[in-house]
């Protein structure tokens, strides 16, 4: 049993992290808040790097990798707060021409919401009657579909969303720790106080528990493992972002600090694929099985 990522998988993850550090740094994130994009040039670069075609067979021009690799790159995207309908375009790689190489930006109706509808070239699913709403997340334009009929959630969509949440959970823990190490009050770094350090410890515990669940679900592809991963990852991202905000004190409440962007994005992702209720009911039903 070698549960940890292999050297090849680590190289893929590091490559993705390097690409995003180069092309979607703190400055780009700030610029995106004013003009969300998506950045078409970056989109094509992601396509060239195989982000969308990752799971397509090589015979169809894809990279020929599996869910574990997809989870690792989506985790990086979540970590960097990368903008745009990443999941919708990735899921459309087989069916929508141009999605696989990043030429086509694809949105996807999911339950009562569509992310990036106006900016996309193609929309999959039924988005009829969609009306724009003033999105709580400045980096995710949203439409509401009032009459939406939602089918059973796509397990791959649930898993990759959980991977993005895991990226957020990891990132906000790092941000909180950085701040707690450097912010001085009462003559010492606030991270020396147990009230603060215990918040950080709990953030790590939630993130690492979620990591084990998400990676295992990527290996088994079992819908119940995926449902479990989703619950753990949502909790780790949302509660982690809240704690990160708290550790940042007054700065955490500002538009300037990036903390609120992580929290708001984690709220958006929590709404995907039937929300947490669907996953809880699935896991409850299994207990009687």
């Amino acid at each position: 049993m070698r549960f940890q990522p292999t050297d090849e998988q680590k190289a893929l993850r590091d490559g993705m992290r390097a690409l995003l550090a180069r092309r979607f740094d703190a400055g780009a994130l700030r610029a995106a808040v004013a003009a969300p994009g998506p950045d078409r040039e970056l989109w094509r670069e992601l396509g060239a790097a195989g982000f969308f075609a990752l799971r397509l067979p090589e015979a169809e021009g894809g990279v020929g990798l599996g869910l574990p690799e997809a989870v690792l790159v989506f985790e990086e995207a979540g970590r960097a707060l990368l903008t745009g309908p990443l999941l919708a375009t990735h899921l459309a790689a087989t069916d929508v021409p141009g999605a696989a190489d990043g030429r086509t930006v694809v949105a996807r109706a999911d339950g009562g919401l569509v992310e990036w509808l106006a900016e996309a070239d193609v929309v999959t699913g039924d988005a009829s009657g969609a009306v724009p709403l003033r999105s709580v997340d400045p980096l995710t334009p949203l439409h509401r579909v009032p009459e939406a009929v939602s089918g059973p959630p796509d397990p791959v969509a649930v898993l990759l969303t959980a991977a993005e949440q895991l990226g957020t959970a990891t990132r906000v823990c790092e941000l909180a720790v950085q701040h707690a190490r450097t912010r001085i009050q009462f003559g010492r770094p606030i991270g020396a106080f147990q009230a603060v350090k215990h918040l950080c410890a709990e953030m790590l515990v939630r993130a690492e528990t979620a990591r084990a669940a998400v990676y295992a679900a990527a290996v088994t592809a079992d819908p119940l493992d995926i449902a479990a991963a989703r619950l753990l990852a949502d909790e780790a991202a949302v509660a982690g972002s809240r704690d990160c905000l708290q550790v940042h004190g007054g700065m955490g409440f500002t538009w300037e600090a990036e903390v609120h962007l992580h929290l708001k994005r984690s709220w958006v992702r929590s709404q995907r694929a039937g929300g947490v209720t669907e996953s809880e009911e699935m896991l409850a039903a299994e207990l009687l099985g």
Binding site: M1, F3, K197, E202, A212, T277, L283, A284, L288
Partner: protein
Amino acid sequence: MDLSYTPEEEDFRARLREWLAKVLPGLPPKPRPEDWPGRRAYDLGWQRALHDAGYADVHWDASPTVRLIFLEETERAGAPYVGANFVGLLHAGPTIAAEGTEEQRARWLAPILRGDEVWCQGFSEPDAGSDLAALRTRAWRDGDDYVVSGAKIWTSHAEVADWCELLVRTDPAAPRHQGITWLAMPMDAPGITVRPLRTLAGSAEFAEVFLDEVRVPVANRVGAENDGWRVTMVTLSFERGTAFVGEVVACRRVLGELARAAHANGGWDDPVLRRRLGRLNAEFRALWRLTQWNVSEAEGRGVPGTGGSVFKLRYSHARQELYDAAAAVLGPDALDLDRPWVLDRLSSLSYTIAAGTSQIQRNIVAERILGLPKGP
């Protein structure tokens, strides 16, 4: 990323299953909790059976993955717990194996593995709990003996133990971590008084051990004088990777039983209760995966990682949540000690305290993993 086992590991699992199926029906009935001699005989008998079948040293010599399989399968089959063999197999034994002389290993290790001798642990004191290095039990040299006086607490199986792994202060003038010595104390030595300690669950799982000028031969010292802190720390994390494998398997079984009980008594129709159980299903699935993650990491590095603290924090809380959910399923019956899960709910309250409180574990996670500064 891979969750599959090797053919050798699967073969180990298959043979173990076969052996358990053969041997478990012939076990004597479980002794009552207050029957200490009966419990000692039962637990040692099980260790002897493991020894004779070639499984005695699975905690010591097997790979972390094989240990995981062993603990998973024995729990699934309903085999006895490690019980009175715990300290011998998981603390004192590994310490002696790592730090003892050849004579000491020859004297003490085989009886642990064969199920001949029981060990208990004399570490904590009334004034040295989370702050273990504050321990004050004194030992003076007198010829070939140490003379030991003081008090220990939270000692399980003290009533029936043959040996106690004891931490004593041999140099009160030295910095606190540097004046401590590790001794193997024979429990039949004159001057030892064992007083059972009743827990909030009503049972006497622990004891206080009072030491009044107890003579312990110098030959029973493991490691150098005043080097006992290091000697202890070498193996304190020994079992962390797999310590709770059996319990996670057991919790998942209890969760299924809870769901069926709720289904039978109508509680299942309450979506809040149902989803609470669904969430616990996610929780214990994740804890199982975290166990596999930690085992796989230990496999790669040869030593357990810091993942043990992360796991313990999450698990001890989850276990309490599980039995609180059991109370929600039981309704008014949750107040009846004769109902299933009610005593387990009481016992679960120790999990966020024993073997390092959750507060101490959070300090460990924050300081050793996250690198935050030590507190004022």
